[in-house]
Amino acid sequence: MHSKQLFFTSIGLVKPFELVLEQTMSVTKDDIAKVAKLARIQIDAEQVPEITHGINEILSLVDKMQQADTTHVKPLANPHDATQRLRADEVTAINERDKLMANAPESDSGLFLVPKVIE
């Protein structure tokens, strides 16, 4: 559940063009707790030091990458050398509500039911 890979994505630090230059990055235990909460990942208190250490190791790798001179390099949003294929504006989906709703733990009158989200 808490592999480095998963954290790497969920904390959103992979945005390559907004990193602060010339500054060593690290996170504190509080950062980890906050990020875990935002990502809805439950971690036990005793795991926090280990995870903090793990993330900081990844960040030190990022620090190393920051030292590369990218002055003349355009920001890269996606590593693939390809552009998005588009589709025509056509309705291709059919109504499969009954089938899809069968997967839901609870439903009523064609609506998915979830625990009440406001008081």
């Binding site: 552009t83 109504n95 509500r97 609506l111 406001i118």
Partner: protein
Amino acid sequence: MQWETVIGLEVHVQLATQSKIFSGSANKFGAEPNTQANVVDLALPGTLPVVNTEALTLAIKFGLAIGAEICTHSVFDRKNYFYPDSPKGYQTTQMDYPIVGPGELEIELANGTKKSIRIHHAHLEEDAGKSLHEAFHGSTGIDLNRAGTPLIEIVSEPDMSGPAEAVAFAKKLHSLVTNIGITDGEMSQGSMRFDVNISIRPVGETTLGTRTETKNLNSFKFMEDAINQEVERQIEVLESGGTIAQETRLYNGDTGLSRPMRSKEEANDYRYFPCPDLLPIIIDKSTIEAIRATLPELPEAKKARFIADYQLSEYDADALSSETKLASYFETCAKTSDDAKLSANWVMGDVSGLLNKNDMHISACPISAENLGALITRIKDGSISGKIAKQVFESMWAGEGDADTIIDAKGLKQNSDEAALESMIDEVIANNPKQVENYRAAEADKRKKMTGFFVGQIMKASKGQANPGLVNKLLAKKLNG
């Protein structure tokens, strides 16, 4: 202290595509819940988004209409937050490379001067589903039909200095996006929604005050009301020595009250990052030029043309050019009747009046523009008087047929038969000797006013069908003769 208000708007516009932005589900308002939500919209594992060309085209169309630069390289990002009506756990939107760059829109102020409002950018994104909190005991119902509806979010600079300017900008924007046909603009159905950023500062101060954001206003009236309230609230807080908290507020249209969102509802840490499921969108210049060629005449240009070609007043031209369907209704009517001024009067008067009264849009008008034009032609050629025309108009509205059918069926044709009118006049003169005597004894300048009595009697005798011009002429001859 004198305060000045600074307002910026974020406007969400639902795009009028057939299908959703990332899936082939239908994009249509009012369907049974969850019947327009497929595996992509439900974010089932393993599904991937594919971008709808038309959503891009409509966004580009908007950019071209505000003179903005279109970004030939644009990127989708993920805005991460958890809420049940957003099943993916993020909204696919654009952050650093939006499709539409800076542009501007000119508004007209109450004193007639013009002001340019800068638009920071506009980006493409998907709408969320709907949460229904009321009907289900202890649960929230989720309808994902709206999830994945293509939106553009238009972000203005903080260039508006009060509710009047903000509403003028919002209306101008509404007119523009409906004119270029990128949205149906139905505000009551959420097709256009406004977030208003408001701050105040002492007059003369150049740095901006702390702003609040009032979200999801879906009428111009709510917007005006919410701004007035918020400005008043901020002045009160600052003048009593407090500070403004940067917060998101909700305005309730039913109660007319606003309150801050609870911090739990507010998750400002969205951890944006480029969406790994979508590659960068590359748009070449020739595509942009091809889209430019499809742009219809913009409202400003249409207004200028109405003034130049039809000699309409500024006011009439403004009202008739603000909406495409109304404008084309007017033009068709003016062409059919060959009388722009009368057409403008009828469209803005009787037609708009009845539409408003019945809460109807011009597209649902029971009288076609051609039929209204034909009615106006009958006034012009003297077949019916203006007064009878109103009666014919009402019958046309009620679905009794076109103007000529109704005029024939009800025998409403104006009576221009001199001999018949003369005998009616003779009868009225014979029956009212006292009034005739008074008339003849009166000074010449008073006589004109006294004619009204006789005209009235003759119109009554003719059931309103006597040709008024002819009656006046014949009557003057007889009374003075």
